[in-house]
Amino acid sequence: MAAGTTTRPAAVTADQAPRAGLLGGSAGRGGGLLLLLGLVVLAMALSVAVGARSIGLGTVWQALTDSTLTSDEAVIVRELRVPRTVLGVLVGLALGAGGALMQGHTRNPLGDPGLLGVAAGASFAVVLAITLLGVGSPAEYVWFAFGGALLGSIVVFAIGSRGRGGATPVNLALAGTALTYLLYALVRAVLISDQQTLDSFRFWVVGALAGRDADVAWQVGPFIAVGLVLALVNSPALNTLALGEDVARGLGQRIWLARGTGIAGITLLTGAATAACGPIAFVGLVVPHVARSLTGPDHRWLVPYAALLGAALLLVADVIGRVVVRPGELQVGIVLALVGAPFFIALIRRRRLAAL
């Protein structure tokens, strides 16, 4: 039963999984959202203060408020830490919201944003840029990666919508998987025959916030902002779509509009995030599950929760990566998986699952 998750989600969930989340009622969820916001702010403060050289929060405050200060610490804060933190928040928000949107549309727990061919398209474009044009630094990859991500998802959508029944989730997921494998195969073909490209690419593909200057945040910021708006607009429709397309149509939902908005949002969010720091699959895959265990299946809450959780998780992982192998750094993509995955598994084991 290939499409079991799409057509009969109740099969495994009915008796074992409660539909409600940990937080009940609008007040509880609203409070939780504020708490999460506080968590993100705390993580931002940590991210600015902690690093190869620890800087007290007082000094950070001075550096931020008084732009005439030119001490080493002030320069580190303004030139390195703040841009990196801002980028971390943007990318975390984007990956979390994009993941929630993707899982909502595909109704599949394996639905990470990479499914739409975004990460594969970006990787392919970056490899081509390195090997053909000799582009050398992460900041220069941004536009290639973003272009590749957009093209990837457009091709997946074109293939998926030509399948039987149009752009259904299963069609999109399979088309995305097929294109992803095809592009990664081509990427590997290049990497195996060209050592120099592999040497640059292996550092990009793990996903990192380091080495991106302030311009990168300005370049991807607008796309992420538009994507976040689309995600929030799209989330009520996801609730009706979860009842099945026929019921949703009966309730007056315009299916193509809802799907189109969602796909545009996913593409913008994950495309921009991947362009900025390389393919970080883990956030989009895992954060929505954590958020769902807090909020239950209501997407109007789930999407903002996932976005904030994504930002907090990414920042904390980045900070941990700076601390564990001082004075070196562990890339954020690696830390995320090593720290986040055990936590994720513990959560799955402890709680009864709020299934899709």
Binding site: M1, A17, R164, A175, L182, R188, A189, V286
Partner: protein, 371 residues
């Protein structure tokens, strides 16, 4: 024996969602025994098997010393001249045999996991088999493989052994962590995501800190390749399949009941937890054996069951057709990799390049069904 048509809704319980275009089943009766089948469930494996023999013979014939197709076929049944026999049986057949066995194992494993998890995106990768094997193998290549002392200690057996241990340990960890009173497919998939992410991160980390020559070697391995594979790999794989293939086919009946959900299966008299554990064990062992022999050849376990179910019709990936299609894809991809392409690439790249467009074509052609 008579063959008559019955309508899809009669007799045994059907999945709740049946497609209106479901092909009719035929009934085979022999005295007190009877079985239902669809014509395509028989024709597809036969056609694929014929293609597999043809492609294997073609693959054996191609090389620096080309041998005609008819000579290869004659040698395969024991009627060839000694020179051809040496080249065919000693030099070229082992590689093709490994390809066939790996393909069978991967196709079968994919069909088992996708039926079990009721998810078209599931594959043995979800259980962490591939990622665990990759960690084991890349660790050997990146940490010890370069230095001569470790290489001598581990010898030729080190890499496959590390991969096998990595694959089995990871899958065992996934199943253990997902186990509560039984195995819930949904929880299994989620735990698998988590463990796989850890393994991928470890592999990436090893690749980043390795020097570039070791990283390239590791990259070739994690792409999956049949280069320099011979009887040494074929023998253990044959033994594994001799046990696992019959086991999988026996499990087929149970799987048919399990796909209706645990409660229905239980009421049909299936010991749900026991048979689930058995299905997982067989699927993991198949995938681990294949990965240890040839590295994680991409895409086969994922795409082959989906292609098979679209070719045969039916409500779940057919086991036999998946196994044969897997073998055909691997051997065909290896043939393309060795002969058509200007540079020799690992077979794992070509399986994806051949398999992905075919899956896309199946998706967009209107005859196909979405499952």
């Amino acid at each position: 024996m008579t063959a008559t048509q019955v309508t899809p809704r009669s007799g045994t319980p059907e999945p709740p969602q049946r497609h209106p275009e479901e092909r009719p089943r035929r009934v085979l009766r022999a005295g007190p025994l009877s079985a239902t089948y669809r014509r395509r469930q028989l024709t597809v494996p036969v056609v694929v098997l014929a293609l597999l023999v043809l492609v294997s013979a073609l693959s054996i014939g191609r090389g620096d010393y080309p041998i005609a197709l008819t000579d290869v076929l004659r040698t395969m049944v024991g009627l060839g001249d000694p020179a051809a026999e040496f080249i065919v049986l000693e030099l070229r057949a082992p590689r093709v045999v490994v390809g066939v066995l790996v393909g069978i194992a991967l196709g079968l494993s994919g069909a088992l996991v996708q039926t079990f998890a009721r998810n078209p995106l599931a594959s043995p990768d979800v259980l962490g088999v591939t990622q665990g094997a990759s960690v084991g193998a890349v660790a050997v290549l990146a940490l010890g493989g370069g230095s001569s002392a470790a290489a001598g200690l581990l010898g030729g057996a080190g890499l496959p052994l590390a991969a096998l241990v990595g694959a089995l340990a990871t899958a065992a960890l996934v199943v253990l962590l997902a186990w509560r009173t039984g195995i819930d497919g949904y929880r299994l998939v989620l735990v698998g995501i988590g463990i796989s992410a850890i393994c991928t991160a470890l592999t990436d980390w090893l690749l980043v800190r390795a020097d570039i020559a070791e990283a390239t070697a590791a990259y070739v391995w994690i792409t999956g390749s049949l280069n320099a594979r011979g009887w040494d790999q074929a023998l253990p794989l044959t033994l594994a399949l001799a046990v696992l293939l019959p086991a999988a086919l026996v499990l087929s009946r149970t799987l048919g009941a399990l796909q209706f959900g645990d409660d229905t299966a239980r009421s049909l008299g299936i010991r749900v937890t026991g048979s689930q554990a058995l299905v997982l064990l067989v699927a993991v062992a198949l995938a681990a054996a294949a990965v240890a022999a040839a590295g994680p050849i991409q895409f086969v376990a994922l795409v082959v069951p989906q292609i098979a179910v679209r070719l045969t019709g039916g409500s779940r990936p057919p086991l036999l057709a998946s196994a044969l299609l897997g073998a055909l894809l691997v051997v065909g991809a290896d043939l393309v990799a060795r002969t058509v392409l200007p540079v020799a690439l690992p077979v794992g790249i070509v399986t994806a390049v051949l398999g992905a467009p075919y899956l896309i074509w199946l998706l967009v052609s209107r005859r196909s069904r979405v499952r």
